[in-house]
């Protein structure tokens, strides 16, 4: 563990010293600053870190051209600026919050490109969590930390399927076609991965 040792921060982001602990905490703090005081310096830092990840997300599965990927980066980062006030670091990790915005923007972009006519935007399907008990919040945080820890221990075939469905936005049957696997195999690998990451599910 690197705790307590101050490491040089790589990339463009030289003015910022990361606090010890999880990287996401640094970005949660930046989001809070953006939301509270429209801090453009914090936003620029946030952009330099997340824009290349959002672009990689847009390009994975190669469904979007480089131009559309840049357009998606712009849309997502504008939403980050506009919605940062609603970000609650107690409830979600910054990267999860960014992921949901990127996912919604990409869904809307696909639908626009396919001239799919719907009165609903992807973010209309979002839900807000009610005010929660501190215990429940702690529980959720532990769950999300655990998922990040366990991610590295997934067998490659399960990690590959998760990347397909999450980063490329493929349905189970699209993933099955591309990997030339039976649909049942894809479904069970996704389910196994989710179990390993200890996501709690109600019995259907």
């Amino acid at each position: 563990m690197n705790e307590g040792i101050s490491l040089p921060v790589s990339g463009n982001n030289k003015s910022w010293t990361a606090p010890t602990g999880r990287r996401t905490d640094e970005w949660s703090e930046a989001l809070v600053l953006i939301g509270k005081s429209q801090d453009r310096a914090a936003f620029t830092r946030f952009f330099r870190h997340f824009a290349p990840l959002i672009k990689a997300f847009a390009l994975s599965g190669s469904n979007l051209s480089a131009n559309h990927a840049d357009e998606l980066v712009q849309e997502v980062m504008l939403k980050v600026w506009q919605k940062a006030g609603g970000f609650n670091p107690e409830k979600a990790a910054a990267s999860t919050w960014v992921y949901t915005i990127a996912r919604n923007c990409r869904t809307d972009m696909f639908r626009r490109l396919q001239k799919f006519d719907t009165p609903l935007a992807a973010e209309d399907f979002n839900f807000e969590l009610e005010e929660e008990e501190p215990f429940a919040v702690l529980h959720t945080r532990r769950g999300s930390d655990r998922i990040r820890e366990l991610m590295g221990e997934l067998p490659p075939d399960q990690a590959q399927i998760l990347a397909k469905v999450y980063m490329e936005g493929k349905s189970h049957s699209e993933a099955a076609n591309e990997l030339d696997l039976p649909l049942g195999t894809v479904k069970s690998r996704v389910r196994l991965a989710i179990q390993k990451l200890q996501v709690h599910m109600e019995k259907a």
Binding site: Q38, R40, F43, T44, P52, L53, K55, F57, L59, S60, A69, D70, V73, Q74, M77, K83, A92, A93, S95, T96, V98, Y99, T100, R103, N104, R106, T107, D117, T118, P119, L120, E123, D124, F125, F127, E128, L129, T140, G143, S144, I147, R148, M151, L162, V165, Y166, M167, G169, K170, S171, H172, K187, V190, R191, V199, H200, M201, E202, K203, A204
Partner: protein, 219 residues
């Protein structure tokens, strides 16, 4: 108390954005009633966040940052307020409220049988019909099956069929060709949201003559 939940497969499709809009609206409706599934979806979204952190970054040119910085002062677009969603048994989930644009009574209801009527809503989903079904208190939907699949979410009242009892917030999924004959509870009329990818088919001879009129109204 919600007792019937969507499967892990459905929640994953919802969390990854792979679900068609009509079905996603149905899951989103269930989630309004169900704290446990909300938590599951949050954790499933955490997987997305964790995977995003691990992607190899793709170079973004400075001009993209300049463009965004130049646009920060634009007014934010108006968006539907998702924060006022109650968790009471009678509240209509927020997204549905918007599609209904009023109260159940303001919708156009078409009668199918004496105790069953239907109202079609628009989601823009070309492959799924998105409709509300209203069953009179104690009324029965004649036995039917489906050529396709059906997601059902109970919004008001409740019904029972061969496999159990379902109340507000409960989610039921029927695969193609599963037969059932739901009966509404005696005390109250039952309103359900049903999302189908093929029309239902009545299976008993008394009602089969209705089948030609039951075409899928997707869109």
């Amino acid at each position: 108390m919600v007792n019937h939940h969507p499967t892990a497969d459905f929640l994953t499709d919802y969390a990854t954005g792979a679900m068609p809009p009509a079905q996603a609206a149905c899951i989103s409706g269930h989630v309004n009633y169900c704290e446990q599934c909300r938590r599951s979806i949050e954790q499933l979204q955490d997987i997305g966040g964790a995977l995003l952190e691990r992607l190899p970054p793709a170079a973004v040119s400075e001009s993209v940052l300049d463009n965004v910085l130049a646009r920060l002062d634009e007014p934010a677009p108006l968006s539907f307020d998702t924060s006022k969603r109650g968790l009471t048994d009678t509240a209509i989930p927020g997204l549905l409220q918007r599609l209904i644009n009023g109260d159940f009574s303001e919708l156009v209801w078409r009668k199918i049988t004496g105790s069953l009527s239907v109202s079609y809503l628009k989601t823009g989903d070309e492959h799924h019909e998105f409709a509300l079904y209203r069953i009179a208190a104690g009324g029965q939907i004649p036995e039917h099956d489906h050529e396709g699949s059906e997601m059902t979410l109970v919004l008001q009242g409740g019904f029972s069929d061969e496999s159990g009892h379902y109340g507000p917030g409960d989610f039921v999924y029927r695969k193609p060709s599963e037969t059932h004959a739901p009966t509404a509870i005696q005390s109250e009329e039952c309103i359900c949201l049903a999302v189908m990818d093929a029309p239902l088919r009545f299976t008993r001879w008394q009602h089969r003559w209705l089948n030609p009129f039951l075409q899928l109204r997707a869109g």
